[in-house]
Amino acid sequence: MRERLAALLRSAPALLALALLPQLASAQGNYEIQVYGSETLPAHSLMVELHSNFTIEGQDNTVDGVYPTTHQLHETLELTTGLNGWSEVGFYVFTSEQNGHGVQWVGDHLRPRIRIPESWGWPVGVSLSMELGYQRPEYSPDTWTWEIRPIIDKSVGRWYFAVNPALERTLHGPDVNQGFAFAPSAKISYDFTPVISGGIEYYADYGPLSDFSPVHDQQQQVFAVADLNVSPLWEINFGVGIGATASTDHLIVKCILGRRFDWGRHSPVD
C-alpha cells in the first residue's frame, strides 16, 4: 500500500539514507495501486481481486532493514463484500515475492466504506473509506497505519473522473508523531468502446499535512492504464507507471483482476 511507502520515507533513518544516496530513495509499497470509485458492492456479493504489481526499477539496496523494491512482485488478495446498498467492507492480504526472500506475508488491512446513496441525487458520487492495518517491519517501519480516504467521482459521457484526497496516519512506528500525511490520487479515463477504456492515474504522497516534504522526497507516480469492461462481474485493469521523483519507484507494471460472486436467493422477485 502506498501509505507504507510514505511511512518509510518519513522515517528518519530512511531520510538520512535518501539524503546520502538518492538512488535508494525508492521505498517499498505498491501493494494496491488503485484509484477508488465511489460505488460500493451490493449486499450478498463478494468481490475477489488480485492485485499484481511488479517493480521493474525501484530501490536497489536494503535501507534501515527494509528490503529493496527492485524486482519485487507484490500479490495482494482483496476480498470485499457489500453490506447493504451504501456500505461494504474489504479485507487485504499483502504478500511479496523476491529473490532471496521467497514469498513473504507482508500484512493485512481492513477497509470499511460508506457512500452517499445514488438516490440522494448528488451531482457526483461520494464515498468515504477508512483503512486500518498492520504490515511487517521488514516491509514498512510504520507497522500500524490508518487511512481516511474520501472518494469523489463522476462519469460524463465517455469521460470518467475520480479523486481520492487521502490522509494517512501512522499509529505505530517511527512516524507516529508526524500526524496526518496527504496522499492524494486521481484518475481520468475515456471510453473508447463499451469494453475498452484508457486513461491516466496519478498517485502522490506530499508528506505531513503540517509540513509538506521537499519535492525530492515526495512520492509522484503516473500510470497509463486500461480498463476492460467485459462484464459487470469482472474487473480488469492494467497499467504501466513511472515515478517522477527520486523517492518513487521508477518503473512499475500493475494488474488488477477481479471477479464478483453473488450468493443468496436469486428469485426474480428478490
Binding site: E39, E118, S119, G121, K154, S155, V156, G157, R158, W159, Y160, D191, T193, P194, S197, N229, P232, S267, P268, V269, D270
Partner: protein
Amino acid sequence: MLSRRTLLKLSSAAALSSSLSALAEDLAAPDLRLDIAAVTLALSPRHKLRTTAYNGQAPGPLLRLREGQPVTIEVANHTDHAEVVHWHGLFLPPAVDGALEEGTPAIAPGASARYTFTPAPAGLRWYHTHAMAMGDLSRGLYSGQHGLLMIEPRNNPGRYDRELFLALEDWSGYLSASEDGAMNPSYAVSTINGKTLGSGEPLRVKQGERALLHVVNTSPTDVHWIALAGHELQVIALDGNPVPSPRRVPMLRIAPAERVCAIVEMNNPGIWILGEVRKHLQAAGLGIVVEYADQHGAPRWLQPTDLVWNYEQFATAPVQEPPPSGATIVVPLVIESKFRGHGAMESWLINGRSYPDTTAEPLREGLRYRLQFINKSHDDHPLHLHRHSFELRSLGRSLDGSGSASAPYIAGIIKDVVLVDAHTQAEVEFIADHPGATLFHCHQQSHMDMGFMLLFHYA
C-alpha cells in the same frame, strides 16, 4: 338582381355571423379544464416532492367521457415551459392527439389551449404530457403529469359492483450505471395513486363484491408486476380493449403506458396488500392496502416466488397457419442502441437512424400493415403507436438463439402498447384507417428523448 350595395351588406352580415359564431364557440365554457402547474406532493409523511401536475394532484382527475360524444377540454399551462397533453389510446386527429411531432400545437408558458374531439374507442385510456425531458428527470413523464381517462361505452357489458382506478408511479428519478454499461433512470420512491404503501387511504371493499380494477402504469421507464395478496385477478381487457380469452392470473405485468382491467372476486376477507411483487419496489412504496369492511389488523402480503405473465394466454386459440400476408404490407423495424459512454444514456436507432432522421414508407389508407419489431438491443421496449390500435400477431421469437426461434401466431388481442423483450422479434398488425401524421415510439421517456421515435405519414 343584387345591387353592389346589397351584396356588400349581405357579405358583411355573413362575415359578422361567422365571427359571432366563432366568438360564441370561444366563449362557450369547456366541458373540462386541466391546469398544469407546480405542486408539492406528499407521497408519504417522509417524502415530499416538488413536481408539475394536473389540477394540483397526481394522478390528475379521473376523466370520464362518453364514447362518440364530442368534448372540449381546456388546458392552461401555468409553468415556464411549453407543454402538450397526449390523449393516449384515442383515435384523434393529429392536431389534438397531443404530440408535437404530429403537429399538435404546443401550449406556451402562461397560455391555454382547447382540445375538442370525439372520444373513441371505448375503454380505459389515459392522458399525459408528451413533452421531452432530455435528461431532466423532473420533466416529461418524470413529472406528475398523468391521469386516467375512461371512455364509457354506449353499452357497458361489464358486471361489477365497484370500480377501482389505480395509477402506478415512479418518482424522484436519478441516473445510475446499469449492467448494460450505460446510464439509466432509477427511482427513489414508487407509489400507487400518489401515495406510498400505507400512506394513503385504503381501497375499501365488501365481501362478495366483484371489484373491477383499472390499472395504468404511468412510470416513465419501468415495468411493474402487481399482485393482490390472497386473490386472483381475472384479466378482461388489455389497454382498454376486451380480450377474447379472459383468464385468472396471480399477478399482472404492466409495462409503461399499458393498462390492464381485471375483475377481482372479493371472497377472502381480511386486510391485504395490493402491490409490487418485487420486494425492493414494494419497499420503495409501490403498494396500497385493500381493506374489507369490518376487518382489522395489519395488512398481509403473500410473497410470490416467481414472475408469471404472457400476453398469449388472453388470445384466441393459437392460429396454426401463418395469417395470409399477400394483402399485408410488412414493415421491418430494427431496434438498436448506440453507446455514448458509460456516463451517458444510450441513443436509439430504428433501422439505423435516430429521430428526427428516422423514415418509413408512407401509409396508404385502408391497407393492412404488419410492424415487425426486431429488437436487437439489451432492453425490453414498450412500443406505442399513436392514433391507432394494433393486433398482436407473434411475440418472443428469439434473435440470439437463447430462446425459441419460432413463435405461434396469435389473434384477438388489440392494444396500443406492446412490450417487446430484448433480443426478440414481435409482430403486430393494424389497418391504416386514421389518416394523418402518426407517431410510433418507445414509451420509455429516456428512449424517446434519445431518438427512439418514428413518424409515419399517410400517402
